[in-house]
């Protein structure tokens, strides 16, 4: 940070050192000691570069959690002003206006209004606007200003605006609109010093409405606001709240509510579209302000984005590009990831040997090697694949391609009753159904959203990868099944899940829930070089979440399973000891139910254990077959497993049946929990559990039936 000790900082826009003006009520030393940090909400339109700016300001000092009671992701982080004051930033979901139409927009509004549980009302709002698209971006700013909070505007992507011929004079905008504007280029780290300096200063209290209200509306709002002030004389935002009441979204004194209802009815009778009048008046004001401040519309010439779009959105070639992207994604997951996976595997094996070499034989050593290391190692090994998936998703989203893919797929999705917007949650579900289900919050239509939630777990998530790879390796020897064949088989499993998801989406959306699907409205951002810092930060976040899960849930389950499969302790062969253990007893109890699928009691143990998380199947089987954390050892052990009559258990048919079972079964408690919170009850998660388990059982049974028929 280019700061002259104590007194000056370098304005990176003008190149001139400027004097630091401190907030009068907060001297530097006091601010550093201040433990009650200021909260600043970061808000902006989607694609305005809000998250990039948030990442640039907070770096690794971020925390990801959920808002209490809902699964909307809450991202907060600590930033420092130029004076060293620590401030808490809260990154709100991208939104076009303060009229919420989806759960994440609803929660953003609640945060701004100070109604979000467990969060204080922000002390100020940092609005991030796309400088090349000011008219639409400032629409939201005018609404935020009327909330009565101090506002600072980050005029982001000024380079894009200038390249398009839009000349912006921040001081003129400041003068016209009444809030401070700071030019930034978040992806290049420009303007951050100025922004940090401005965040440390007293921000102007926004406040009054600047746009002119059309006459019929002004009369209505005036009356409702007067009724409000009569009931609550201290209310300074009566006019804004009157507008909220008129839209039917707010709460207020009875007199004001009755008046609002009467005006709504009157406007309805007179066919006066007051919502259109408000939007029109705001835009007219903004056009006028931008004109006075000398901000032109710029020109729209055929640029790179249009040239790329002519290929990417082409009705024929566009599909080729999409298929190529997906292919590259899957090849990366299964080829590039294999190297770090081997290193992790070798690391855990070495650790196991180290423990065995340095500890005396006994129960504690067995617990460490066969329980902890086998269980956790069997899952951590898949971290590289998960990271590659998130890296690709981040690149696709950040470059602007993901929106094009949604556009292209809209027609296909429309056939099954969904819109292109469901594509992004479904694609995210390839990584993990949890972020996928959480991403459905951007789907505005409730029935579309519910359908997407119901089918999202059918998209093969990364937790299934360990199960698929192990079973595929067990099904056919490597000599008969070359690497490309394995990749094709994996692609087939993904296709099975995806095809079933689409078929069921059609059934649920068109036949069960009914009603038409909503029309597509989607912003197509210009193509940009992805901000690698943002993508890497997201990967880091996901890695931590995954490792935390491996270190808690999977560790606990591994220890529990080790206990269940080793106690009560009996003498004899390893297989006899397992058969007599608690887990063995449970598996034997389950065997009659799963026998028609070709599964024995040991697979039964795996199925029960992986109810909590699918990837636990591999670690469970490692524990069941006493093979430590090595994948190769497990495959050998599985191939050698037999029924009491000596017949092979893991025949190709059984492996395929087990694969089909895992394609369909909802074996992830976290998904059930997220679905419960997203759908607001147990009915839909229970339905999901029921239909997916039924489908898994039926699918596996059909595989065995076909195998018997084909095999004679």
């Amino acid at each position: 940070m280019r700061v002259w000790p104590g007194k000056f900082w370098l304005n990176t826009w003008t190149g001139v050192p400027e004097k630091i003006t401190l907030r009068a009520d907060r001297p530097v030393d006091r601010m550093k000691k201040d433990t009650s940090k200021r909260w600043i909400a970061v808000i902006g339109n989607p694609n305005a570069g809000k998250s990039t700016l948030f990442n640039a300001l907070t770096g690794l000092r971020q925390r990801v959690g959920n808002y209490p009671g809902v699964t909307v992701e809450k991202r907060t982080g600590t930033a420092y002003t130029l004076h060293g004051e620590a401030i808490e930033l809260i990154d709100l979901p991208g939104m076009y206006s303060l009229s919420p139409r989806s759960p994440d927009e609803e929660i953003a509004l609640q945060v701004l209004q100070g109604k979000a549980t467990g969060l204080p009302r922000p002390d100020a709002v940092l609005c991030v606007v796309d400088a090349s698209n000011l008219e639409r971006n400032l629409f939201l700013v005018t609404q935020v200003m009327e909330l009565g909070l101090p506002v600072l505007v980050a005029l982001n992507m000024v380079d894009v605006a200038e390249a398009r011929g839009v000349r912006i004079h921040p001081e003129q905008l400041e003068q016209k609109i009444g809030v401070k504007f700071i030019p930034t280029q978040a992806h290049r780290g420009k303007g951050l010093v100025e922004l940090r300096a401005a965040l440390g200063q007293r921000l102007s209290q926004a406040g009054e409405r600047k746009w002119t209200m059309p006459a019929p509306l002004a009369a209505a709002v005036g009356q409702i606001a007067a009724a409000w002030r009569e009931a609550q004389p201290a209310e300074i935002r009566a006019e804004g709240k009157a507008l909220e009441l008129l839209s039917g979204s707010g709460e207020g004194p009875e007199g004001a509510r009755k008046l609002a209802m009467a005006w709504r009815e009157r406007f309805g009778k007179e066919a006066y579209d007051w919502a259109a009048a408000v939007a029109g008046a705001r835009f007219a004001y903004l056009r006028d302000v931008l004109h006075q401040a000398g901000v032109g519309q710029g020109w729209r010439e055929v640029g790179w984005t249009d040239r790329i779009d002519s290929l990417v959105l082409h009705p024929v070639f566009g599909w080729g590009v999409l298929a190529g992207m997906m292919m590259a994604l899957f090849i990366s997951i299964f080829s590039i990831a294999s190297f770090p996976m081997e290193w992790i595997d070798a690391g855990f094996s070495a650790l196991g040997q180290l423990v065995q070499g340095h500890m005396p034989p006994g129960i504690f050593r067995d617990l460490l090697v066969d329980g902890v290391l086998a269980g956790v190692g069997g899952v951590v090994i898949f971290l590289p694949q998960i990271l590659i998936l998130f890296f690709f998703l981040g690149l696709l989203e950040d470059s602007g391609y993901l929106a094009r893919a949604a556009f292209l797929l809209d027609r296909v999705m429309h056939r099954v009753g969904l819109s292109g917007k469901s594509f992004i949650p479904l694609l995210s579900s390839y990584a993990c159904a949890i972020p996928g289900i959480m991403a459905t919050r951007t789907v505005e239509d409730p029935k579309d959203r519910l359908t997407t939630i119901l089918v999202a777990p059918l998209m093969s998530c990364s937790a299934r990868i360990p199960v698929y790879t192990t079973l595929l390796a067990a099904a056919v020897p490597a000599t008969l099944f070359p690497a490309w064949g394995k990749a094709a088989a994996l692609l087939g499993l993904y296709a099975l899940g995806t095809g079933t998801a689409f078929a069921l989406a059609w059934l649920f959306r068109k036949k069960m829930l009914g009603g038409g699907s909503p029309p597509l409205i989607l912003e197509l951002p210009p193509y940009r070089m992805p901000a690698f810092r943002t993508v890497l930060l997201r990967m880091w976040e996901r890695a931590l979440i995954f490792l935390r899960r491996a270190g808690t849930v999977i560790l606990a389950l591994s220890i529990l399973l080790w206990f269940l499969s080793n106690f009560p302790s009996t003498s004899g062969e390893a297989s006899e000891r397992l058969a007599g253990s608690f887990a063995g007893q449970l598996g034997h109890w389950l065997e009659p139910i799963i026998r028609p699928l070709g599964f024995d009691w040991r697979i039964g143990i795996g199925l029960v254990a992986s109810l909590a998380a699918r990837e636990v199947f591999v670690s469970t089987m490692s524990i069941v077959y006493h093979v430590g954390g090595e994948e190769g050892g497990l495959v050998q052990a599985m191939r050698g497993a037999t029924w009491p009559d000596g017949a092979m258990i893991y025949t190709p048919a059984t492996c395929v049946a087990l694969l089909v079972f895992y394609v369909y079964a909802l074996q992830c408690l976290s998904t059930v929990a997220v679905a419960k919170r997203e759908t607001g009850g147990w009915i839909w998660p229970a339905f999901m559990m029921f239909y997916m388990t039924g489908l898994a059982y039926l699918g596996a049974w059909l595989v065995q039936l076909i195998a018997r028929l084909v095999g004679g």
């Binding site: 009229s99 639409r136 729209r300 984005t305 029309p519 409205i521």
Partner: protein, 87 residues
Amino acid sequence: MEKKGGAKKHQPVDLTQVGSGAEVRVRSLECAPGTCQRLREMGFCENALVRKIRGGADLVCWVCGTRVALSARLARQILVEHVDGRS
């Protein structure tokens, strides 16, 4: 359904009926209130200037300095008039 030419100046037509590259002004929105609201927030408010970039089953428009994709079903509910008298 895209028709090239034929629409007279100031006569409202729906957005699917103008050719790619045409610049039009939004006259009115004939959709559900929630959809109308979202369209207005994204720049498709009454009197806004819109340039149609790409036609087809789903179309792309340039409005308020950004590209917005719309389904043809929705585009049929957006009535526009030509600003230059041409399609």
